[in-house]
Amino acid sequence: MTRLVDVPAQFDDRSFEQFAGAYVAAARDGERLLFDAHATEWASPYGLVGLLAAGQAARAAGSPERPLLTAPTHADVLTYWTRAGFFREAAELFEIHGKLPRVKPAEQSDVLLPVTPVRAAEDVHAVVSNIQQRSSAILASELALDPKATMGFAMALSEACQNIVEHAGTGGWVAVQAYHWRRKLARRVVVIAVADAGVGFRHSLEPTQSKRFGTRWGDAAALEAALVQGISRFRDPGRGQGLAGIRRYLARWDGKIAIRSGTARIAIVPKWDDDVPLQDGLPAFPGAQVLIIIPEQGSTTP
């Protein structure tokens, strides 16, 4: 029997919880999954890498057959997903149903970095090298960021990707896009989305941190330890710099970071947003999913 997982019509970090709930319910009995995106009208970079992570998790669950994916039927959506490099990665994970357009992943567009696999340190080098060439003009001219911020942006991206290499125990994906965020801010933003279906923060930190937290230990405590306290699973005193560095960068440019792992989600919420700082008891989606948003500079009153 095949179990259905609906992909939301507007697939972003907010609707991801609906998707994660559907995934967890469908994956419960180990049957083959069908991810149905035929009615999806829009997906953020977070949605795209999150969908790949779900495919990765479904394959890791041990079903002998690849999960199915019904591609969006709307031509524009299909073209965008293709340009964003989604199907290039999805082809390895899913049996895809639907007619895919013959377009190349984006070279020059708002897609600053198409969906890109991150498995090893070498991939992070490639990501950082590519993004610097493509992002500096957009960051400076469209987001009005100081040219110096481009370097910090590459640093933040590098550290976000390294979380996969160092902690996930598997590969993951990153995507970077600039777009006009009408619904929330009515201004342009650059969004970094990173996702994997690996072991997650709690598992990664458990050997060194669970005793310290005692009965409080869980996904939420692990995220708090990593993002707020800068704690790493390594005993080396220099570890934990990455997320702390990302936080510093975002504080300077009024940005946002949200990390979801297991049953919890933590966010450093800027004034322009109304996200919840810490959520627990969410559907137990594997791995870690990171969202970073840097808004156009100037007044960011929602």
Binding site: H125, Q132, P237
Partner: protein, 151 residues
Amino acid sequence: MIQHIDVHAVLQESVSGVYADLVTRPTGRVVRERIERAMATAQDAVTVARIDFTGVGCIDYSCADEIVAKLLRDRRAVVVLSGISDGHREAIEPVLAGHGLAALIERRDGGGAGELEALGAPEAAAALLQDLVARRLAVRTSAGTIALTLA
């Protein structure tokens, strides 16, 4: 003696040669180990190691920690960082402050030894400059700046 170490060249030897960025901890580790090896195998005793970052694109926090902070903790020689851009400082400064460490940055305008500035934790920075002057490795110039005595 002052030993000059070209980080960009070390990076090119350490990774595939096409990347100019110091990113990821494994890369930082390899680069630091090569620098340490170069310092250990120098023919004359190294008093000052001038670590030159000219040509290096981005440095992330992991590499700043793995290279700069660990070289400083090792204390084999006085470490002077040169060719440091504003972007490099952005990664190095908070990492040093987090460790309570300070590093010397050399600003060179056209050859020779340049002005020194201590970067990192304020107390460690002040102590570092004092120590350098006390050991006569650096002098306070008439302009009120500090410069290396060795060329």
